[in-house]
């Protein structure tokens, strides 16, 4: 058994888990934050993407113990003070989700993508960078639209955040 401590969505948490426990299991089962989903066993689908120390990570590819001492943000921590993050708002505005299962991972990947590109995204780049996130409902059409819209709205803000 390992004792793991980390900051999740700004709150310090710790818990006991088996050494083999994945970060996603720790988040879902120990912390009860069920917004982070598991859609595959091979780190392909991206439903489990969270931010670890500011970077998008598939939380099924990482042991909980490896995240010890890290700052983790999950989908539940993205909106601040009841106000949706611009990427969340754009997914809603552009109908970028249907069943909602891939959505948390999509949004967490998109936030990271926009930050890395400093608000300068085009369709080809968005499609290419979504390679690690699978959606079966939307055909990606509206997800791409939502990300491009959020990126342009965040514009300079996204660039500053990246610096």
């Amino acid at each position: 058994m390992a004792t793991v401590s980390m900051t999740v969505n700004g709150r310090t948490v710790s818990g006991q888990c088996e050494d083999r426990t994945l970060l996603v299991q720790f988040i879902r089962e120990n912390l009860g934050l069920t917004g982070t989903h598991v859609g595959c066993d091979t780190s392909q689908c991206g439903a489990c993407v969270v931010h670890v120390d500011g970077k998008a990570v598939k939380s099924c590819t990482m042991l909980a113990a490896q995240a010890d001492g890290s700052e983790v943000m999950t989908i539940e921590g993205l909106a601040s003070g009841g106000e949706l993050h611009p990427v969340q708002a754009a997914f809603r505005e552009h109908h970028g989700l249907q069943c909602g299962f891939c959505t948390p991972g999509m949004i967490m990947s998109a936030v990271d993508m926009i930050k890395r590109h400093g608000g300068q995204l085009d369709e080809k780049t968005v499609r290419s960078e979504l390679e690690g996130n699978i959606c079966r409902c939307t055909g990606y059409h509206n997800i791409v639209k939502a990300i491009l819209d959020a990126s342009s709205k965040m514009g300079d803000g996204a660039r500053i955040a990246a610096e």
Binding site: V38, D41, A79, R92, H95, Q98, F101, E131, C137, G139
Partner: protein
């Protein structure tokens, strides 16, 4: 409030919980004392079970119980059923083999469940499952339906001699043969419709809870139709009587058909909860989903289409072999018969049609309805043949279709269906215009200058939705009626609850169903709640599949709204001492026409509940229910045009343009309809370009059982789509809705394959058109 009514592009009410991580899916549920399950599954595609030794596993840490088929039989848990009886053409009933929820004597596909292990944690359950020793005696395997029909093939079920489940036909064989014999031209093709794995992103899950004190069962499950699950679990599987069983399908992460069925795992988890005395949760992993979710398609067909000297179709003959896998899943028998061959007239006047369908057992995962269910298979035949025939006859694909379009309605086809309304010319013209079809030769020449091969292909599909008139499907063998129910509760403060038997797993019912009320009563959609997916809350329902929630589910809501409105008018007329016929409802008020008298909606509702001043003899309250049974199927139709560029060096196909022009009848929310089309197109393009399901023919191992091996469409495989609609209202339901959920997946595969074969100049190409296949087809054409 007109901004939120029928036709309004309102954003979805349900989105907030999904974008903030607050959705509640089955695997998110936690109940006190809950334990975890893992299934022991067959590693062999066909084997006798010699023994099951659980002694070592039972001593593993955390293990609570290990149960197998013998205990299931002790408790008289029933065989898994097929809900649609098909008779062979000789009149004999289908040859259905036995399917036990946990295999007892024989396993018939890799993944067949043999035992369940319940333990404190998932990891412990999995560890213990690995310690269960099952001794097998392997048997010969067959995975191809064509091979399974051959003399000497391994025999899978004693009930189905030669693995033949049924040999069924529809249409007029003699007339069709005569048309072919006297034709000016006959186009012949052999066409394979590739097997697919549905892959909703949420893997299946179940949580069974037995309450000993109440002798009551609750099942949380990833279901498209929780009421049907309750009915079947009770009436056929003998797990619990219906009044002692609550089935809840909370947020469900996509279905596409694969979550219609009541699988072994759900039955076993619920039963195991009583047997072990603890709540039992199971959540399947992705490879388990590949191995056990019902697959789709898997047809091999030969077709002959006859034309006269004027290029009019005179006959269409189809012979199909359909692989149903190792067992007959719930609706498996209806998919390659009544959901398939009844659409073989396409959008065309065809005087004679005959189809023969043989369904076959193999050592593969059961095959059942997957987005489109039979209609994509029919459309693929029809539209590949039309494009091929146009090439052979030396006319344009559009011209051949126009020559044969049905233009008068109603139109009775030779294969049961009576098309009620449509304008196929309108969708063809719209798609050709949107795609700048006439400008294609210039684009092809430009692509050639860059060393690329550009091709264009079209598909004019029709499908049957609004499933389905109960008496009609009953006469064809269905074991259930396919009506839908709804209840509308107006609360004392005027807010409204719609309870529906439809189930939303991505379709946005919480928004679109609320739009019906907003439009009708001028109540904001935020004041309307849609309740679904819980058998304790909703009276009864048949669920969501076959693009039926709009045409059938919403029609039931409309019927209930009619009753609510009638009573509301009476109350308002009474309160304002006016004539009922003078009451108009708009902007949240009930007004007396031509006067300044009005009663706010909420005040009328309050009056219904205070009951201080109601018309003489009226019951208090404002709540009405309705069942709606459709009088006909609905017939969405449209035209898709795809343009591709093939790299001759690699065989890689790039979709440079995809245009969809659909006629879905009346549309409630265009944004949601467009989303349904986008998703359907992606699945159809996935089938045509990427998704191949491969079994090893010797061992029956599924070689494509993870996202490392099975190619799911990703964002960079797809273009942005150009979608539009034309409209002919459906005359058979009150809203004029046809349904939009499956069209994209039905119409797109032939458009894409027609485009690629046009580009490479070789018509001999099998789906999925992967780069190696396209490259090889290109080389063999040169």
């Amino acid at each position: 409030m007109g901004m939120e009514g029928i036709g309004a592009r309102v954003v979805r009410k349900e989105d907030k919980r999904f974008i903030t991580g607050k959705g509640k899916y089955t695997d998110d549920m936690v109940v006190p004392g809950m334990k975890q399950a893992h299934f022991v599954r067959s590693p062999h595609a066909h084997a006798k079970i010699k023994s099951i030794d659980t002694s070592a596993a039972e001593k593993m840490p955390g293990v609570i119980g290990i149960l197998n088929g013998a205990q299931l039989t002790e408790d008289a848990i029933g065989n898994i059923i097929c809900g649609w009886m098909i008779h062979s053409k000789d009149g004999s009933p289908m040859n259905m083999g036995v399917w036990r929820p946990l295999a007892q004597d024989t396993v018939r596909y890799v993944g067949d469940a043999v035992a369940i292990v319940v333990a404190d944690t998932k990891a412990q359950a999995r560890d213990a499952a690995e310690a269960v020793v099952v001794e097998y005696e392997t048997l010969p395997v067959v995975t191809s339906a064509v091979e399974a029909l051959k003399e000497g093939a391994p025999q899978i079920h004693p009930e189905a001699k030669g693995n033949l489940i049924f040999d069924w036909e529809i249409g007029d064989a003699a007339a069709t043969d005569a048309a072919i014999a006297s034709a000016a031209h006959v186009t012949e093709m052999k066409i394979v419709n590739n097997r697919l794995v549905p892959n909703p992103m949420e893997p299946r899950a179940a949580l069974g809870v037995y309450d000993e004190g109440e002798d009551h069962y609750t099942l949380w499950t990833t279901s498209q139709n929780p009421h049907v699950a309750r009915l079947v679990l009770s009436a056929f599987y003998n797990v619990a009587p219906e009044n002692k069983l609550r089935v809840i399908a909370p947020d469900v992460g996509g279905g596409f058909g694969s979550k219609i069925y009541i699988y072994p795992e759900e039955i076993v988890c619920l039963w195991a909860s009583k047997r072990t005395g603890v709540p039992v949760k199971w959540n399947c992993d992705r490879t388990e989903a590949f191995l056990t979710d019902a697959h789709g398609r898997d047809h091999v067909s030969t077709v002959k289409m006859a034309f006269d000297a004027n290029n009019k179709i005179t006959g269409f003959k189809v012979d199909t072999i359909a692989n149903l896998g190792a067992y007959m899943s719930l609706f498996s028998s209806s998919v390659p018969t009544y959901l398939y061959a009844t659409l073989l007239s396409g959008q065309y006047n065809i005087p004679a049609i005959h189809a023969n369908v043989r369904t076959v057992y193999t050592n593969t995962v059961p095959v059942d309805a997957y987005r489109g269910a039979g209609r994509p298979e029919a459309t693929y035949l029809m539209e590949r043949v039309m494009e091929t025939a146009a090439r052979e006859l030396g006319v344009t694909p559009a011209e051949l279709r126009r020559t044969n379009f049905i233009r008068e309605f109603p139109h009775q086809t030779p294969v049961i269906m009576c098309y009620d309304a449509g304008d196929y010319e309108a969708s063809l013209s719209a798609a050709m215009k949107a795609s700048d079809y006439d400008g294609f030769p210039a684009r092809k020449a430009e692509a050639k200058s860059r060393g690329k091969l550009r091709g264009i292909g079209m598909s004019c599909y029709i499908e049957a939705c609004g499933i389905a008139p109960s008496a009609a499907v009953g006469s064809l063998g269905a074991g259930v009626g396919l009506w839908e129910s709804a209840e509308v509760r107006v609360n004392a403060v005027g807010t409204v609850e719609i309870l529906t038997g439809s189930h939303s797993h991505g379709q946005g019912h919480e928004t679109t169903f609320a739009q019906l009320v907003a439009g009708r009563f001028g109540v904001g959609i935020d004041s309307v709640s849609v309740v679904h997916g819980d058998t304790d809350k909703v009276q009864m329902g048949m669920g969501t599949y076959g693009s039926r929630s709009g045409a059938v589910g919403m029609s039931a809501v409309v019927k209930a709204l009619d009753k609510v409105e009638a009573k509301a008018r009476k109350i308002a007329a009474h309160l304002m001492e006016a004539d009922e016929s003078d009451i108009v409802i708009e902007n949240g008020e009930l007004k007396v026409a031509g006067t300044d008298k009005s009663v706010p909606w909420f005040q009328m509702a309050l009056a219904a509940y205070t009951a201080h001043n109601l018309p003489e003899g009226m019951e208090p309250g404002l709540k009405e229910g309705a069942f709606y049974d459709p009088s006909n199927f609905t017939f969405p139709a449209g035209c898709y045009i795809c343009e591709v560029e093939v790299d001759p060096e690699t065989g890689k196909t790039e979709i440079v343009q995809f245009v969809a022009a659909d006629d879905f009848g009346k549309i409630i929310n265009p944004m949601i309809v467009e989303g349904q089309v986008h998703g359907g197109l992606a699945q159809g393009i996935g089938q045509a370009l990427l998704e191949g399901t491969h079994y090893d023919p010797e061992t029956g191992q599924l070689l494509t059982a993870s996202y490392m091996d099975y190619t799911m469409p990703r964002a960079d495989d797809l273009p942005s789509f150009q979608v539009s609609t034309t409209e002919t209202a459906c005359p058979s339901n009150p809203l004029g809705i046809k349904g939009c959920g499956e069209a994209g997946a039905i119409g797109s595969p032939p458009a894409l394959i027609n485009a690629i074969t046009d580009a490479i100049g070789n018509n001999d190409l099998t789906m999925p058109a992967t780069a190696p296949r396209v490259w090889a087809a290109l080389r063999s054409a040169q």
